[in-house]
């Protein structure tokens, strides 16, 4: 009996189950361990893809051949894109923080299907291995991460495993989405009504629906491209009567909603962090909830704005442009709510807060440049230039990346039972933020001047902007190294803490042990009021 009592307070990190050591992790169905498995996997691949990005920026520091030729450069941006999109930002926050915190934040002991959850991670790993196998046989793929037809079945490089691997990764995403929807519907703690649910679970809910309803589209599209390449069925091949523009439609029917898969959970994490560090109730809780659902819904109908120059009817162009402007509104509502939450708050300047505020800053730049791209006339001017690259990185790296870092610094003590070095964390953030802006802001200018994307070379008049941008890349990588080394080191040597609520949060995860025990709760909590009720 006495042993039972002690084991109840053993954290999930130290829990000894059926398997020991590494097996105790990779065969564990504990949602917290699965979340950390995703985190570690992403850390490894983020480092690889970030190095590829840095190499590209070094190549672009001067016109002509610097460290690589055109074919290598094409492979670099392809592999950088495939890893960053399909392995990092699409699973991103849901796979790591969703797995770890969704059950805790709604007062459950695990997700609805723990075995399926572990299976998702394994499918994810298998997908990664298949993608990576393209690197070792027959030359790196050089299509770009979008695999546009007809080049994706004409190129002699080994694009097949990349296509098939991305298809497999889609399954992992779908299964996670199904798991989260069922968990949220069926496993909320007593008293946790829909509108007492914290905002991070709400955004996970909206995201999970996109994962369920959009991912199959990319699945079948990639599968058809595989068949096109292997069998020549003809559906995308113009020489056999197929339509390559149809490929683009199908690809973006998934891949635009996928941008919201990337950003929505990030918005949720920011909505958790700001009230805690402002010591104020979130402004417009329901508006944030409804705007998340609105983004998920309207996000389905804007895919055409990726194809303004591909060939569409004029009427379709107007419709897609209009809808693109509509989808900006819910995002703007959120920014308004975040700023209003901070207004007259008692601000507590800590690392997660720095990341969260800088998130709003870069997200707004990314959002406004998105409107520039969404309006027809300017789109034709800056289409396929560095302007798009800058916009995309401000949203996906600035949006998802910053919110990921904010969330990681916010929940870190709860996850590991240790605290990172705050001084280094803040220094790392500052260097990273400075490097980020120096890297991507000049790209807007370069794009306006007309420098196309995806070329290893450029005209001499683009030299100044590229030098600044490349130096920014180096600075940003230094910042990223500081941040990551600090976090990795602190997981081992950081100051131990078992304080349940270091930041003074009001959501359920701050009521469990630090780090949580295997089943999170001895007795399920009862919820009596909305989250974020600071009085």
């Amino acid at each position: 009996m006495s042993e039972t009592i002690t084991s109840k307070h053993v954290s999930f990190l130290e829990h000894k189950g059926k398997y020991k050591g590494l097996l105790g992790w990779i065969l564990s169905t504990d949602h917290k361990r699965v979340g950390l498995l995703y985190l570690y996997t992403m850390l490894v691949f983020f480092s690889i893809a970030a190095i590829l990005g840095l190499l590209m920026k070094i190549q672009l520091i001067a016109p002509g051949y610097t460290i690589m030729g055109p074919q290598t450069y094409n492979s670099m941006f392809t592999v950088h894109g495939i890893i960053m999109i399909f392995i990092i930002v699409v699973p991103g926050l849901p796979a790591v923080f969703g797995n770890f915190f969704l059950p805790i934040m709604i007062g459950a002991k695990d997700v609805a299907f723990p075995k399926l959850n572990l299976a998702s991670w394994w499918i994810y790993i298998i997908g990664i291995l298949v993608v990576l196998s393209s690197q070792f046989v027959g030359g790196w793929p050089d299509t770009g991460w979008t695999f546009y037809a007809p080049y994706s079945f004409r190129t002699p490089t080994n694009v097949l495993p990349a296509l098939f691997g991305a298809f497999i990764l889609g399954f992992s995403s779908i299964l996670t989405g199904i798991n989260f929807v069922v968990t949220i519907h069926r496993m909320r703690a007593p008293g946790m009504t829909w509108f007492r649910m914290p905002l991070f679970p709400w955004t996970l809910y909206a995201t999970a629906w996109i994962q369920i309803l959009a991912t199959p589209v990319i699945g079948i599209t990639l599968l058809l491209t595989v068949m096109e390449r292997v069998l020549g069925v003809g559906v995308f091949d113009p020489t056999l009567g197929g339509d390559p523009i149809l490929y683009q439609h199908l690809f973006w029917i998934y891949s635009h909603p996928a941008v919201y898969i990337m950003i929505l959970p990030g918005m949720g994490a920011i909505s958790e962090i700001l009230p805690v560090f402002s010591r104020k109730r979130i402004y417009g809780y329901k508006a944030i909830v409804l705007s998340s659902l609105a983004i998920a819904f309207v996000g389905y109908f804007v895919w055409g704005h990726h194809m303004f120059t591909s060939g569409m009817s004029g009427r379709a162009l107007y419709a897609f442009s209009f809808l693109t402007f509509i989808v900006a509104i819910p995002s703007a509502i959120k920014v308004f709510n975040w700023v209003a939450t901070m207004h007259k708050g008692s601000l507590n300047f800590q690392t997660p807060f720095y990341w969260a505020v800088s998130f709003i800053f870069v997200f707004m730049i990314g959002g406004f440049s998105g409107l520039t791209l969404g309006s027809l006339a300017t789109n034709v001017h800056v289409h396929d230039t560095h302007f798009v690259v800058a916009h995309f990185h401000f949203i996906v790296f600035g949006g998802t990346g910053y919110s990921f870092m904010a969330a990681l610094h916010y929940w870190y003590p709860k996850m590991f039972g240790r605290m990172y070095d705050r001084g280094w964390a803040n220094t790392g953030w500052a260097v990273f933020f400075g490097g980020f802006l120096t890297l991507y802001l000049p790209m807007f200018g370069l794009g306006m001047q007309g420098m196309p994307r995806r070329y290893y070379d450029y005209l001499p008049e683009f030299h100044t902007g590229n030098i600044i941008s490349s130096l920014g890349a180096i600075l940003m990588i230094v910042g990223a190294i500081i941040v990551i080394v600090n976090l990795v080191r602190s997981a081992r040597y950081g100051e131990k803490t078992s304080e349940k609520n270091p930041w003074g949060g009001k959501t359920l995860e701050w009521e469990t042990d630090t780090p949580p025990t295997l089943e999170n709760w001895e007795d399920l909590p009862t919820v009596e009021e909305r989250p974020y009720e600071y009085k």
Partner: protein, 206 residues
């Protein structure tokens, strides 16, 4: 350190949740096939004559036969669920056996149907299709892709049925815990439903 006690006091069971999960999965399947139907619509609109001639090449008898037996198999699955609910294990196993037999029969028919088509030279990349032009190439491209992916689903269904039969024999699925059988049934109805659309689109519209 010694092994910690596993807390098994609260074994989580939620049949409603399990069924909800299955329905969500069915949504993803509908979207997946939905995109294929979309492509069919686009290419049929662009090549009406070739699609009509392509449809006349297919064997309506085999198509009809497969439709009828697949519908019967959907009924036998539904009946096996009722049998399990009543606790009639033997009847449930017989009905699932019939379903399994029909699923295999469907694939056997498909094998002969495809074999005959390939023998005549109707397959992606063949010279015959090249001579017959774009529309026919697309028709047979879509025919093989769509009925092929459907056949893959039949194959997965066969795997599920074997698992369920095994679980019934081990008394893991019984009159008070049969959500696995119900979900397999749901999946099988989906496979059936998709065929109900594939059949007229390829075989009947002339």
């Amino acid at each position: 350190m010694e092994k910690h006690e596993e807390h098994t006091s609260h074994v989580h069971r939620d049949d409603e949740g399990d069924k909800l999960g299955m329905w969500l999965f069915i949504f993803t399947e509908l979207l997946l096939f939905g995109m294929l139907f979309l492509m069919y619509a686009v290419y049929r609109y662009k090549n009406p004559v070739a699609f009509q001639l392509g449809g006349e090449e297919l064997d309506v008898f085999i198509g009809t036969f497969n439709t009828v037996i697949l519908l019967i198999s959907s009924a036998t699955v539904a009946m096996s669920i009722t049998a399990i609910q009543r606790g009639n294990k033997k009847q449930a196993l017989i009905l699932l056996g019939i379903t399994l037999f029909i699923a295999v029969l469907f694939l056997v028919n498909k094998y002969f149907e495809w074999g005959a088509k390939i023998e005549y030279g109707f397959y992606p990349g063949s010279n015959l299709l090249h001579e017959l032009g774009h529309g026919t190439t697309l028709f047979f491209g879509l025919y093989y892709v769509m009925s092929g992916i459907h056949a893959l689903h039949i194959l997965i269904g066969i795997g599920l049925f074997i698992y369920v039969v095994h679980q019934i024999r081990r008394e893991k699925i019984h009159s008070t815990d049969y959500v696995w059988l119900e979900n397999t049934g749901l999946y099988w109805h989906l496979v059936d439903l998709i065929w109900i659309f594939l059949f007229p689109l390829f075989y009947l519209i002339h």
